[in-house]
């Protein structure tokens, strides 16, 4: 004989019988949602971006908006992300895997002197977002199977008109990194200039 669940409980309690054990769905759901391993992809990109030093001035909500405008790209081993000399429009963060940046003096050939290896939480190609008709100065190759999260010039254009604050913060972050690099380069150049002057003086006195 079929009864409703409520009636079953009511009868059971009135007869002082032991209640049949049922699965507690709300508790199951809570445990499932709270599981750190089962986080959905939607959440994982903002969470990944949180760990990047460059984006530390973003709030959580701003990172969520930024993540909506980013693209996931999967690369297999030895696959080229971009080549030196190509026109670039993308700025990439490394979600997983390793990317190798190399000089490339011999046309399209990737030369042996690798100068930078980046892994998780690293980023590259930021100049492409700021420069008009940016030409890549290095070649980027995936060293192993890797996943990149990229933001591209069109996305930045859309962000500027739709979410001006997020766009401003992104440009600010990149500018800070670039300004630091420029400062470092200027001081290096100054050092070199002084050294040249010293060498010239030494040469003249001899």
């Amino acid at each position: 004989m079929k009864m409703s669940y409520e009636k079953e409980i009511k009868d059971a309690t009135s007869d002082k019988l032991e209640l049949t054990k049922k699965i507690d769905f709300s508790m199951m759901k809570y445990l499932w949602m709270a599981n750190p391993l089962s986080s959905t992809r939607k959440n994982s990109i903002p969470r990944f971006l949180r760990n990047i030093e460059l984006l530390k001035n973003f709030s959580d909500n701003e990172l969520r908006i930024l993540a909506k405008y980013m693209h996931n790209r999967k690369f297999t081993e030895e696959e080229v992300v971009f080549r030196a000399g190509e026109i670039g429009i993308g700025f990439y963060f490394i979600f997983s895997g390793t990317v190798e940046l190399s000089h490339d003096e011999l046309g399209g050939e990737v030369s042996k002197d690798k100068f930078l290896i980046l892994d998780e939480f690293g980023y590259f190609g930021e100049l492409a977002l700021l420069q008009e008709g940016n030409q890549r100065t290095a070649t980027a190759v995936a060293r192993n199977k890797c996943e990149l999260v990229g933001i591209f010039k069109p996305d930045l254009d859309t962000l500027i008109v739709r979410h001006p604050i997020v766009a401003t913060k992104l440009i600010q972050s990149i500018s800070i990194a670039l300004a630091d690099r420029l400062y470092y380069l200027t001081s290096e150049a100054n050092k070199m200039f002084k050294r040249i002057k010293q060498l010239e003086a030494k040469h003249d006195s001899e």
Partner: protein, 350 residues
């Protein structure tokens, strides 16, 4: 298997990607009943997206922003429509009364001409052609009247389909684009994204400029006709604005109803007719010298000959819709060709 070989994967990706694009394009071309409202909706969405963007900058969610625009447009178009429909049916009655008038007018004019020619040269012009032409006109108009329910059904379909498509294109174009990009092969990703971005931007700018142009021209003509106290001023102004979207041919198409109505209501030599014609001329001069150079020509930089050819080809395949979309499509094709040219001749040969 071929699929399991890792080295082939990028080739397979490209083939898959091209296959999807070809499939989509052929579907669009094969089904004009879908593709015409779809392209109209796309054009509308391009013109409306800047407004959605500025609403989103005020921190409104996208769906709400889109809905607000639709409610606003619905009120803006719906309210006058309620008033216009009875007016329009009355005007159709008027037109029915006017058609015999036009016929009489043509016959009368022809008789004058005939007498005039006979008086001056002694020859008599045969009147067969005129009566034949009028008969043909009658056949055309009856067939048009017979087909009206058909047109009406199409129109009803569009009235529901176009806003429906427009709403979802505006709301979801970003996720459509993201999905398309997600299976774009890595090797062409950045270039492809750049090209579709420039394509959309160019098309958007073009139609935004064209809508502004149409509103300016239509506005000048409507106000002018209202001041001249000409019948059907609003309808004529609306037609003039709408036809103005078609390059070169549009202004001439726009003036035809005014000439026909003017000839019947007034006469070819009356002052009102002259004023109406000069009003159209002024509106087009304003358009050619003040609106067009600042708005449209900076966006599409095509040779006039290419423009003329593309309008003809467009009208051949897709009718009026084809005439409207031909210019931006050709501009986009030019852009893609330039991009490929740069890729082949400047990048690799460096």
């Amino acid at each position: 298997m071929i699929l399991s070989n890792r080295k082939n994967i990028s080739k397979i990706q490209i083939v898959f990607f091209i296959a999807i694009i070809v499939l989509f394009c052929s579907l669009v071309l094969a089904l004009p009943r879908i593709s015409i409202p779809l392209s109209l909706a796309y054009i509308l969405s391009l013109a409306l997206t800047p407004i959605v963007n500025s609403l989103m900058a005020l921190r409104l969610p996208k769906t709400l922003a889109t809905l607000l625009i639709f409610i606003f447009l619905g009120v803006l178009i719906g309210l006058p429509l309620v008033k216009i429909i009875p007016l329009l049916s009355a005007e159709t009655q008027n037109v029915q009364n006017i058609i015999p008038k036009i016929e009489q007018f043509i016959i009368l004019q022809f008789q004058y001409l005939r007498e005039f020619v006979k008086l001056k040269t002694g020859h008599e012009i045969s009147d067969v052609y005129v009566y034949q032409g009028l008969e043909q006109l009658q056949v055309w108009s009856t067939s048009f009247v017979v087909k009206i329910p058909n047109y009406f059904a199409n129109l009803m379909e569009w009235i529901f389909l176009v806003p429906f498509f427009t709403f979802f294109i505006i709301r979801d174009s970003h996720s459509f684009q993201k999905t398309l990009l997600s299976f774009t092969p890595n090797s062409i990703f950045e270039r492809f994204y750049y090209v579709i971005h420039v394509f959309n931007r160019q098309l958007g700018n073009y139609f935004f400029a064209k809508f502004v142009e149409a509103i300016i021209v239509g506005g000048i003509i409507t106000i002018g006709l209202l001041l001249l106290d000409v019948k059907f001023a609003i309808v004529l102004g609306f037609i003039a604005g709408l036809t103005n979207i078609v390059p070169y041919v549009g202004p001439f198409l726009g003036v035809i109803p005014a000439i026909v109505l003017g000839m019947v209501e007034y006469s070819m030599t009356s002052a009102t007719m002259g004023a109406v014609l000069s009003l159209y001329a002024i509106a087009n001069v304003v358009d050619i010298f003040f609106v067009f150079p600042f708005l449209v020509s900076k966006i599409v930089n095509l040779h006039p000959m290419i423009v003329a050819v593309s309008v003809i080809v467009g009208s051949h395949y897709l009718g009026i819709t084809g005439m409207v979309i031909s210019i931006p499509v050709v501009a986009a094709i030019k852009l893609i060709i330039t991009e490929i040219y740069n890729e082949i001749y400047t990048e690799r040969s460096r």
